[in-house]
């Protein structure tokens, strides 16, 4: 009975092997010739200053989150655009409702000042 679920086990093993395998292979095959400048943390080409780990302002978090949300909106637009003709006016209305909800959230974010950096 449980044999039916063997493919899931294979899948897990395959995923693990693929992940570990690529890391191992690139380590094995890739040439590694480190020297001092190369191992330094990269800072736009200029010599780096101070510790390479620094605190990042929490503002980035909000920005990244908002980017994610509005980015995903675009992802939903693509399949709709592909089937635009077949979905017809109903599809258009549905997408407009979806966009309206997003516009409301956009206005909210904007008015709350989350888009301003300072």
């Amino acid at each position: 009975m449980l044999a039916v679920y063997l493919p899931i086990l294979y899948m897990i093993i395959l995923a693990l092997l693929f992940g570990a395998g690529t890391v191992f292979l690139s380590h094995l095959l890739g040439p590694a010739r480190p020297f001092k400048v190369k191992t330094q943390s990269y800072e736009c080409g200029i010599p780096s200053e101070g510790a390479h780990y620094a605190q990042t302002p929490v503002k980035f978090y909000v920005t990244a989150l908002l980017f994610l949300v509005f980015d995903l909106e675009c992802v939903f637009l693509y399949p709709w655009a592909v089937y635009y003709r077949r979905l017809g006016a109903f599809g258009l209305a549905e997408m407009l409702i979806f966009l309206l909800i997003l516009v409301v959230s956009y206005v909210y974010v904007w008015k709350k000042g989350a888009l301003e950096w300072d």
Partner: protein, 493 residues
């Protein structure tokens, strides 16, 4: 040239009309909160109230007639059960908003558009949980509800306790959701479907499945996930801290709405489709129900903070409702629904009274803060006593009838010792509920001015009067409500 053909999919939009109304109101309220210059400061609250009442009207207008059916490709179930739970949840939302309107007088952050918007969104999640016919929609609805409530819990932004409550609820809630999702994955693995009706059909036609450990694992994981939401022992640890730290209006909402939705999910996902495997869960649930009642009641005995006390009492009440789950018959499920309805009224009522003992920016939640309340404000003392008597299960309140239905059905199904334990527990609980009544009426040493009672707006008077009346009416004329609950169970998909 593009020609548009309007082909409406064969979906029953009326079935989700209340949800549509609630979402639209939530968006409107959110915008009102942002454009502060254009609208009155109290506009978001009143708009939210209007929206929730409109949704309630929609539930009643659409009603439930005819055979149970499903729509949106099996995602939403249209049956009496959906109708009953939508009704209860809409009432809970409306009452919570009424309480919040008054509570907002003491805490400015409670008057914002976000607060009411989140409240309505949580309500939408609850209704979808009760009406979902697909495990995916159920999970999404659960998350919609939970995430809104996590945010609401931390709404006293400047109070550490509130933040702590929100963080605890969030972290443990995320764990609970993960368990639930894993359980759903196992159900899918075992039955090959996410559709609740198809799952039930598959289990009926494949009785050999019932002996598989697979399905037992699915049950255990799902019950852990939902057990978290209904604060079933041993998944109850977050309850007292979260209930205490959350704004009182939110606590009332959490204690009633989340529980109603989670018990609805429990009946939909487990009790009905997995009924044939009852033999394998009886022992687990027997112990869980016993512990939930006992732990809740025993620890409630020593609480001095009324919000903590009500939190432990809500754990105990979850234990009583689990009796109906164990009994499993149609009438027992009707008893569960009846109890959820009474519980909504009495608990929002009790928290509503607690939410009145405030002054600007401060809550008074110690039981000793109630000293002399019964003399100074006789009506308030009276309604609080009604709620507490009902919570304790003393006739002629709805709480008594709820316990009566649940205990009778459990007894008929043969859980004699569990009913004995529940009876003993009820007796124990009378002590701590009546302790508040005693403090309100029999504390001569309390000076008259020690009570802090904030401003009382008409809204909360209506809310408390409605809740108290409902508790009494449900206790005196229980058969109408019980048959309503019964009809909703018997037309379950």
């Amino acid at each position: 040239m593009v020609t548009f053909k309007v082909i409406l999919p064969a979906n029953d939009y009326m079935a989700v009309l209340p949800q549509i109304v609630l979402v639209s109101t939530a968006l409107l309220v959110l915008m009102m909160g942002v454009f502060k210059k254009l609208v009155n400061a109290s506009a978001p609250g009143f708009t939210a109230l209007a929206g929730s009442l409109l949704a309630l009207g929609c539930v009643l207008f659409v009603g439930h007639h005819g055979a149970p059916s499903s729509t949106f490709g099996g995602m939403v179930l249209v049956d009496g059960f959906s109708f009953f739970l939508s009704l209860v949840i809409c009432i809970i939302i409306a009452l919570t908003i009424l309480v919040s309107l008054n509570y907002g007088n003491f805490f400015n952050c409670m008057r914002t558009g976000e607060y009411y918007s989140l409240l309505l969104m949580a309500g939408v999640g609850m209704i979808f949980m009760a009406t979902a016919g697909n495990l995916i929609l159920l999970f999404v609805a659960l998350e919609t509800m939970s995430i809104s409530i996590y945010a609401l819990t931390g709404f006293h932004k400047k109070q550490l306790k509130s933040s702590e409550a929100a963080l605890k609820y969030f972290l443990l809630g995320a764990f609970g959701s993960a368990f639930l999702l894993y359980g759903f994955a196992f159900i899918y693995g075992a039955t090959g479907s996410l559709d609740i009706i198809k799952i039930a059909g598959f289990i009926k036609t494949h009785p050999q499945m019932l002996n598989m450990k697979f399905l037992v694992a699915a049950f255990v994981l799902t019950i852990a996930g939902i057990g978290f939401k209904i604060s079933m022992v041993p998944f109850h640890m977050w309850t007292p801290d979260t209930y205490e730290g959350a704004p009182t209006s939110v606590t009332g909402f959490m204690a009633t709405g989340v529980k109603a939705a989670a018990f609805a999910a429990l009946i939909r996902v487990i009790l009905v489709p997995l009924a044939p495997m009852q033999h394998s869960w009886v022992t687990i649930m027997w112990i869980a129900a016993f512990l939930t009642m006992t732990v809740g009641n025993i620890i409630a005995l020593v609480q001095d903070n009324i919000k903590r006390m009500l939190a432990y009492s809500s754990i105990a009440h979850a234990g009583y409702i689990l009796l109906g789950f164990l009994a499993g018959t149609g009438l027992a499920q009707a008893g569960m629904l009846y109890y959820l309805m009474v519980y909504a009224f009495m608990n929002i009522g009790a928290f509503g009274v607690v939410a009145l003992l405030c002054k600007k920016g401060e809550e008074y939640t110690s039981i000793s803060d109630f000293a002399g309340l019964g003399f100074k404000y006789p009506l308030l003392g009276l309604v609080m006593s009604v709620f507490l008597f009902s919570l304790a299960g003393i006739p002629p309140t709805g709480g008594f009838m709820g316990k009566f239905y649940l205990f009778t059905q459990a007894l008929r199904s043969g859980y004699v010792w569990l009913v004995v334990a529940a009876g003993v527990n009820s007796v124990i609980s009378i002590y701590y509920y009546l302790r508040v009544v005693v403090v309100m009426y029999f504390s001569p040493q309390a000076s008259e001015n020690s009570i802090v009672l904030g401003s009382v707006s008409p809204g909360i008077v209506i809310a408390l009067a409605t809740a108290a009346t409902a508790v009494l009416v449900m206790g005196i004329f229980p058969s109408y409500f019980f048959s309503l609950a019964g009809n909703s169970i018997f037309s379950l998909m």
